[in-house]
Symmetry: C2
Subunit: 308 residues, 2 copies
């Protein structure tokens, strides 16, 4: 799947991923209203509204982008119905041949991590049959529990040709509270980065490993260092746009081959229709998905100009 991701990035010339993190407040009123009329002001109604919202954005952007990253928390808040909408979103994005990065930040130990890996990336044996359930292509994973938590994911990645992105240096203001603390003269995130390189070394695609890392756009210096620590790992970079990261901050997340990083934007794309710059270009809540397309085009141009 890392090979497919690389190919799609090269084909679209867009090292970006659209974060499908639909807060209900992002969903235009007319979509909410229609869904509530059909399913009531219920979790099923909310789930239908966010799925319709996602679908319109995917339809408007899928030819421009290689990948999407649904954030499962935004679905889980609506319970089982929300999780169904997550599944529908994953399935719909696959219909559109997009690579799907499940932003699930799972991580546990042994058989429990195995179960997460099975559910999100692999397949499960039920009696005499085998089923893939959530079937994302990549999942994000938390490293706090050490190798025991990561290895079961790596095993499933090898079997299924899927991939993971391990949290190394996250984009939030307080990420340094633990991640920046010095251990033997190096910050914790660097130690985690070294383990990412090690875990990834025995499951390589053509040029990059199945095991990638998450490093926030808001920490460009750390990104530069980690790029060197994990030369064969793709870096998933959140924090662009709404969280403050800019194209010029991103240069050092990439390798000399122009690859090695994929930049996420969520709110900046899916809620672009609320921004003055797109309202000024004729966008209303009715044609919100057109604003998402414009925002994708602007993001691609911003990153391209920074890289060249």
């Amino acid at each position: 799947m890392i090979n497919k991701l690389v190919e799609k990035i090269q084909k679209t010339n867009a090292p970006i991923v659209v974060g499908l993190d639909p807060m209900l407040s992002y969903v235009p009123q007319h979509i909410q209203k229609a869904a509530f009329e059909e399913f009531g002001e219920t979790p099923a109604g909310a789930a239908e509204a966010i799925f319709r919202f996602n679908k319109a954005i995917v339809d408007a952007t899928c030819d421009l982008i290689p990948a999407v990253k649904p954030q499962i928390a935004m679905y889980e808040q609506f319970g089982v119905e929300g999780v169904k909408a997550f599944q529908r979103t994953v399935d719909y994005c696959h219909e559109k041949d997009l690579v799907v990065i499940g932003d699930v930040k799972r991580g546990d130990i042994g058989s429990t991590s195995s179960a997460y890996a099975t559910g999100h990336l692999g397949s499960v044996q039920i009696g005499s049959k085998r089923f893939s359930t959530f079937s994302e292509d990549f999942a994000t994973v938390n490293p706090y529990l050490g190798s025991d938590g990561i290895k079961p994911f790596v095993d499933v990645c090898k079997e299924e040709k899927k991939g993971i992105f391990i949290l190394v240096k996250t984009s939030n203001p307080s990420s340094g509270e633990f991640q920046d603390r010095l251990i033997d003269g190096k910050p914790l995130y660097e130690h985690v980065g070294e383990k990412v390189a090690e875990w990834g070394s025995d499951c390589m695609g053509d040029s990059y490993s199945y095991v990638g890392a998450v490093v926030g756009a808001t920490y460009p210096e750390q990104g530069k260092l980690l790029r060197q620590v994990m030369p064969k790992s793709f870096i998933l970079v959140p924090g662009y746009g709404a969280q403050g990261g800019k194209g010029k901050d991103l240069v050092h997340f990439f390798n000399k081959d122009g690859l090695g990083a994929i930049i996420n934007s969520s709110r900046g794309i899916i809620a672009a229709y609320k921004q003055d710059q797109y309202i000024d270009r004729g966008i209303t809540a009715e044609n919100f998905a057109d604003a998402s397309r414009m925002a994708v085009e602007d993001m691609i141009a911003d990153i391209a100009s920074a890289l060249h």
Copy 2:
């Protein structure tokens, strides 16, 4: 909810929690067969089988125990149908007045952590209405992202009188890879423990905080230290039984008031019917839930004898 947990522990005289982590291989054949006949060898069939398995164990043990801890990974591996079985399990345990600790190990940043907290512990606004969805009483949370990841959970805990257990020192063999590394002369887990005490200090129940910690039974020395670092935090202790922890290892996880810790056993209770010691006492796969009751009684006795 921390007050209810304390009351129930005192009433049952059992500082234990039954881990409802049903691997399909733990579910006796006759239950699998019946569920598959009705729903097919499908995720729905598997989900039905694990719910029936859980229900029998809950029915057989609920008068002896204060709490259960369903591990959501074991449900997520069956996709949406599995998540439905998780919800049914939570709801059924609430019918039996058990405290439900959702072992979900979630953790993200800002609005994303808020969404997880909303889904698992809180309630979500949908149009003019408000819904609680998964509605566990406690959730486990991963600290790697720092305060930004924890505070949204704490906020929901305050509003809803719910609680969290933050991963501090996990029970697995490789937990030391990052957690034991020394920072300013102290291991990372101790720094995390200090933050747990800090985060918990402004949301206190009668005698313990809404903010607890996870510390593995397999690390008794670390448990002893962390007990002192976080005097007002309940410690959820996995790793008893099948993972190797024994009653005598647990003494120092408790405070002098005999409270402050709750010991989890999963496989040792829910798959007790496979152990020779219970087979020798007349257990078969047909009366598997009786073995779970025996295992709960044995665990309570083991811990009581260690504490006195």
